[in-house]
């Protein structure tokens, strides 16, 4: 399954370069040297030990949300509630890490899974509505994102606020639930490794198991799935639960690995980055690893561009936007055609 999709992936890589080129033109017009700017972007995201670690740390949650989105889109569901699921995952992981007392390794595992469970539960509602009544998942997901974010705000501000903290955040979780660093002098925790393994496992599930097979059939051609006696509604529900679990893990990895508490509005939009990552990777879980690296580089590197030659933060958003829109165009195109096809397939 790699060879054919590799070609697709190269289309995406080409698209990224076109995006960078357009970004360069914008930089040039606004009076910056694009080469210097991109040099700084690369240097501050991949230039030294410290910045690489920072990039990898940003990459971790994007891998999880990217996988969540890829799984959704594979089934031709346009659910974009990963940001909300990330927050709910964080909430659950925090509660498991703060309220329960357990021995170290077990506590970590339980807290991690709790985060996944949170995301899964957040997907259960829209998944059930979609499967049972055919309610449009996109609209619901956007609304649920805000519910999740404000719910987390409430918990951070009123339920567990740490009065001694210098930033607005909750209490710290118990040390037994904290994900340790890979080695003591690397500020990179085990959740990165976990994310990479999860990507490989997700690929295995999609391409080698009955569940994955049925998800792909439903995603490409729901009518043929029905004729083949595949229970389409059940596949939809499974997809929601699986994807929700993955998105929830993004939240728990951030809480247990990086913050050890829930800071107010801690996600810079990793849930949304996941959607972009999945689009660039054309929903291939293995390629999500690469596309999430690109997103992480843009996130961490643009700070260097800002400090280095004083590109304004607004312009940086423009550059990021241009690159990402270009990069996700091939994936978005095929997703939209598939979505329309499945929509027609359901109707006829």
């Amino acid at each position: 399954m790699i060879k054919g999709s590799l070609e697709q992936f190269f289309t995406s890589v080409l698209a990224v370069f076109i995006g960078l080129l357009i970004g360069a033109i914008i930089l040039w017009i606004t009076g910056y040297n694009p080469l210097t700017a991109y040099g700084l972007l690369a240097k501050s995201s991949l230039g030294d030990h410290h910045s690489i670690i920072e990039t990898l740390n940003a990459m971790t949650p994007i891998i999880f949300t990217g996988l969540a989105a890829a799984v959704m889109f594979k089934s031709a569901l346009f659910f974009i509630g990963m940001e909300g699921q990330l927050y709910v995952g964080a909430l659950f992981a925090f509660i498991a890490g703060y309220m329960i007392q357990l021995p170290p390794i077990i506590h970590m595992a339980i807290a991690l899974l709790a985060g996944g469970l949170g995301g899964l539960l957040w997907g259960l509602g829209p998944g059930y509505l979609k499967a049972k009544f055919g309610v449009n998942e996109t609209v619901i997901s956007i609304m649920l994102n805000w519910v999740a974010i404000y719910l987390t705000d409430y918990v951070v501000l009123y339920v567990f606020p740490d009065p001694k903290a210098t930033i607005t955040r909750t209490y710290k979780i118990s040390p037994t639930a904290v994900l340790p660093r890979i080695s003591s002098n690397l500020p990179l925790n085990w959740s990165f490794i976990l994310a990479v393994l999860t990507a490989i496992l997700t690929g295995f599930i999609l391409y080698k198991t009955t569940t994955g097979y049925e998800m792909r059939v439903v995603g490409f051609n729901p009518r043929a799935a029905r004729v083949a006696k595949i229970n389409v509604e059940r596949v939809y529900l499974k997809t929601f639960l699986f994807s929700g679990f993955l998105a929830g893990l993004a939240g728990s990895s951030m809480i247990l690995g990086v913050f050890n508490s829930i800071p107010y509005r801690f996600s810079p939009g990793y849930g949304w980055d996941g959607i972009t990552a999945a689009l660039i990777a054309q929903n291939n879980p293995y390629f999500v690893l690469i596309s999430s690296l690109l997103l992480a580089v843009l996130r961490t590197g643009s700070f260097g561009m800002m400090v280095g030659i004083g590109v304004s933060s607004d312009l940086i958003l423009v550059i990021q936007g241009v690159v990402l829109v270009a990069a996700s165009t091939p994936g978005a195109y095929s997703l939209i055609t598939r979505y329309l096809k499945s929509w027609r397939g359901v109707k006829t």
């Binding site: 080698k208 097979y213 059939v217 490409f220 051609n221 043929a224 004729v227 083949a228």
Partner: protein, 488 residues
């Protein structure tokens, strides 16, 4: 005007035209005669720029031209009136006619008086009498047809293509319509008249081209033609009949009793259908498309709930071999690999305990199917959309038959296939019959019903009217039954 070696293959693999040469002389009325699906409409859609040929060129006065859209064809004065109305009911006759070609004043306003003038001239020319200010929705069908023709003529068309223009007209209207055509001819307009009605083509045309299965079967001058000759050209049975051995049917495998099924519009599409299919027998259900056969089959295979009646399938195996009417929508996932499609619907049998699919076994299974049914595949790992239509269909048939169930349901299994693939599918059906399987064949192809089936039931407006042994039926009799005329 000339069309040379035109081929057309639709994206779904259906071959509509296989090398058609056609000459159209200025000022003539040319009849394009053929059965449904002979390729008449496709050919003319190519000429009018609506479709692009897969191969072949169009020449006008010896120069090769290429039409990217109907507008390009219009520039050469070629316009087509389609079989289905393309009018906007809420607009007036005049508004419909000028639509898209409004005479503009300063690029902003429409000069309707100019349009009326031109329309009046056209009406004089054709003898059509219409009130330009009346709403199209209030017109009877015959008048709508006139509006369609005026609309095309309004664009200064010199070659007018008419696709089955008389299908909705009464006999008197047809007379009037033919008079208009003669007047147009006097004024130098060339007309291509698409029809399957022999009588009409003899009455109005100068020359007749007969199409059959995407090829030109013959060209005759109308004065030299007669009905039996044209009929023979239209529906010649060219393949020798398949060998059908005598075979005594066994016990009932599928029993359908007083079945009532609702269609998508919630009205009854199947109204009390009863029939039986026995082992060692091919039972055909034939009918004009939309007679309820789709809903009937969907109820039997469990894709559609039924309201009343019973369906009894005597089969131990839970799997049902079902060859759906549209392989690309219902039978295959074109974006997935050939071997992945070879397990669709039976994929659960290739899994281990942990629901991991044993790819080795799937590939083995797929290779076996490919060999057994001689399916031509570029690569077993290729996406299925790269297979030709015939091979896609073979893949579906092979997979469904590999289920080994006692009952096989096939819906239009040879639609869009070339003659060779058609014959191989039909031969397979007969083989199944010899192996004592029960086959339900739903088709809209009269040849197929007569050639393959043992018994045929005709479905008309959701009811089975007439059930006969295939030997007792003739094409003519079947045609009448399909049109709802019961023979007493």
């Amino acid at each position: 005007m000339e069309m040379v070696n035109i081929h057309k293959v639709y994206p779904d693999g259906t071959i509509a035209l296989r090398g058609v040469d056609l000459e159209i002389y200025e000022g003539e009325i040319l009849g394009l005669l053929g059965e449904n699906g002979a390729g008449k409409t496709t050919l003319m859609k190519i000429l009018s720029g609506l479709l692009k040929p897969t191969k072949g060129v169009i020449k006008i006065h010896g120069d090769i031209v290429e039409f990217k859209s109907p507008k390009d064809a219009l520039r050469y004065g070629i316009g087509m009136v389609h079989q289905h109305f393309t009018l906007i009911p809420n607009l007036t006759v005049l508004e419909n006619i000028v639509l898209g070609y409004e005479p503009k004043v300063k690029g902003l306003f429409i000069d309707m008086s100019k349009a009326v003038e031109k329309l009046k001239k056209l009406m004089e020319l054709t003898g059509f009498k219409l009130d330009p200010y009346v709403q199209v929705s209030s017109l009877p069908v015959g008048f709508k047809q006139m509006v369609e023709i005026l609309k095309t003529l309004y664009k200064d068309v010199k070659l007018l293509i008419l696709d089955e223009p008389t299908s909705s007209l009464t006999p008197i209207e047809v007379k009037q319509f033919f008079n208009a055509l003669r007047k147009l001819k006097e004024h130098g307009v060339t007309v291509v008249f698409i029809t399957h009605k022999i009588k009409e083509v003899l009455e109005i045309t100068d020359r007749i081209v007969v199409l059959r299965k995407g090829r030109v079967e013959g060209v005759v001058k109308t004065i030299e033609a007669n009905p039996p000759l044209l009929a023979k050209m239209m529906i010649k049975l060219e393949s020798k009949p398949l060998l059908k051995t005598k075979h005594a049917p066994g016990s009932d495998i599928l029993i359908v009793e007083d079945l009532w099924v609702r269609g998508d519009d919630n009205r009854y599409a199947v109204k009390g259908v009863s029939f039986k299919v026995r082992e060692g027998e091919i039972y055909g259900i034939i009918g004009v498309e939309g007679s309820g056969q789709k809903e009937l089959v969907e109820a039997i295979v469990g894709l559609r709930p039924y309201e009343r009646g019973r369906i009894i399938i005597d089969s131990k195996d839970k799997l049902l071999a079902y060859i759906p009417p549209d392989r690309t929508i219902e039978g295959l996932v074109l974006e997935m690999r050939v071997y992945e499609n070879s397990e669709l619907g039976i994929h659960r049998f290739f899994t281990s305990k942990a629901s991991i699919i044993d790819m080795k076994r799937v590939i083995e299974h797929c290779k076996k199917l490919i060999e057994e049914y001689s399916i031509i595949v570029p690569d077993i790992k290729a996406q299925t959309r790269f297979l030709s239509g015939g091979n896609q269909q073979k893949l579906v048939v092979a997979r469904e038959l590999s289920k080994g169930s006692k009952l096989i349901i096939a819906v239009n299994p040879t639609r869009g296939l070339d003659i060779e693939a058609t014959n191989s599918v039909r031969r397979l059906l007969l083989e199944l019959r010899e192996n004592n399987k029960a086959v339900l064949l739903v088709t809209s192809d009269i040849d197929e019903a007569l050639e393959v089936c043992d018994r045929v039931g005709v479905i008309f407006e959701g009811k089975l009217i007439g059930e006969e042994l295939a030997e007792a039926l003739t094409e003519e009799k079947l045609g009448l039954l399909m049109g709802g005329v019961t023979i007493s």
